[in-house]
Amino acid sequence: MGEAIAFYVIAACILGFAVLVISTKDTVHSVLFLVLDFLFVAALYVLLGAQFLAAIQILVYAGGIVVLYLFVVMLVNLKRPPEAHADPHRKTMLGFGLAAAVLAELAAVAVYSANVPARPIVEAAAVPVTGNTEVVGWMLYTSYLIPFEIASMLLLVAMIGAIVLAKREL
């Protein structure tokens, strides 16, 4: 009961702040609502018992990436109103199209997962460690080693790319 109330309150906050992110005129305010949104997503992770994920969510997204967003927003002057588009309807149509595509995708996933019974991703006995962080680490280095390595390679490529772009001559 308490858990359900907490979930609905958190979910309502997530959705509400998400709407505010895209509806606010001031870009800095919009970024701030995004931070609040990320904090409530972290709260949702805590509710699910995934403390490690919650801490990482705050550390990486709320504390790291959005600070960089804020830098970009503050350095790029967005105070002047955007020029009126030649065809304002075109943008609206495109938006509706994209929204419909996302909605269809979500509906497809929901229908599919309702038909296929959820199976536990790991057998509980297979993991010899206890504790949230330990289990995440164990899974990353056993069952999901290849995706993990691919993700780290991607990040390495991005880092090298950033250095190449930033430095004119090496």
């Binding site: 800095v28 403390q51 490690f52 504390g63 600070v67 830098f71 949230n132 962080t133």
Partner: protein, 340 residues
Amino acid sequence: MVDLFVIPLLKIVIVLNATLVAVSYLVLLERKVIAWAQSRLGPMRVGPYGILQPIADAVKLMIKEDITPARADKWVFTAAPIISMVPALIVYAVIPFGPVVNLFGRHVSLYIADINVGLLYIVSVASVGVYGIILAGYASNSKFPLLASLRASAQLISYEVAVTLTLVSVILMSGSLSMVSIVRAQESSHLWYAFAQPLAFVIFIIGSLAETNRAPFDMPEAEQELTGGFHTEYSGMRFALFFLAEYANMIVVSSVATTLFLGGWLRPFPNVALLGFLDIVPSWTWFLIKSFFFLYVFIWIRATLPRYRYDQLMRIGWKVLIPMAIANLLVTGILKVVFM
């Protein structure tokens, strides 16, 4: 019922109040120590030897006029001091002041919560605190605070990397993210991590000076260049909140350094039976003594060292501290695999 609600609430009340009192007296301590270092007396007028000075300061700040600049972003201007203060206070939830003790016939733990991801919680909450500084500078709509806040956020983000890397070395040694388990690991290995990880310890201290905007890295408050820093436009209690947050962060950093590197609440040489008489001193007293040592060193450094230049600060952070922290982490990992 009592164990679930009353005792945790009591602990929260005690810790928050103790922190706020400690913060206001830390300000007095800083003024006194710097005065002594410069052959002055420091505050002497309010109470004997000036010990009531913090109360006078608080009253003064509360009755001062609260000004919001006309062209400021009002909501963000109001929120910024709160965003600075809250992370500095909620970090105390996971700091272990002592082990589980018997108090009035009950088992009471001298920490509010021992969560599985304690250290990660501290790092992530502290990383949210940087918003207070950025937003204060932005919302003031004034050029010096904006410059100061850009400096501050660049500094905080840079040094966060080095500090977090040293924390990872400690986590490798202890095998846990929980603050209580880290102290227990030091107890069972008979070694404070300051001696097992001397390089990490030094990098952590230097990095935390920069993280808390303390001298010699107090670029965000360089009066000569920035007329005061990111809080130039703030007055009264809102300014006081920034001030309190800075000192609360100092205490947080000292407590974390004590827990990770100086064995937390353990007495010196917990494995030597000959020093057993030291157990008369309660464990939390050891914790407070060790934390006080760090606080004193911070003030001492401020009284001794001149301020770095901004480019020097960035060079030290990126070209010295981060590579050394990475090397230290690599060596720690290799040694751990070889010997365990």
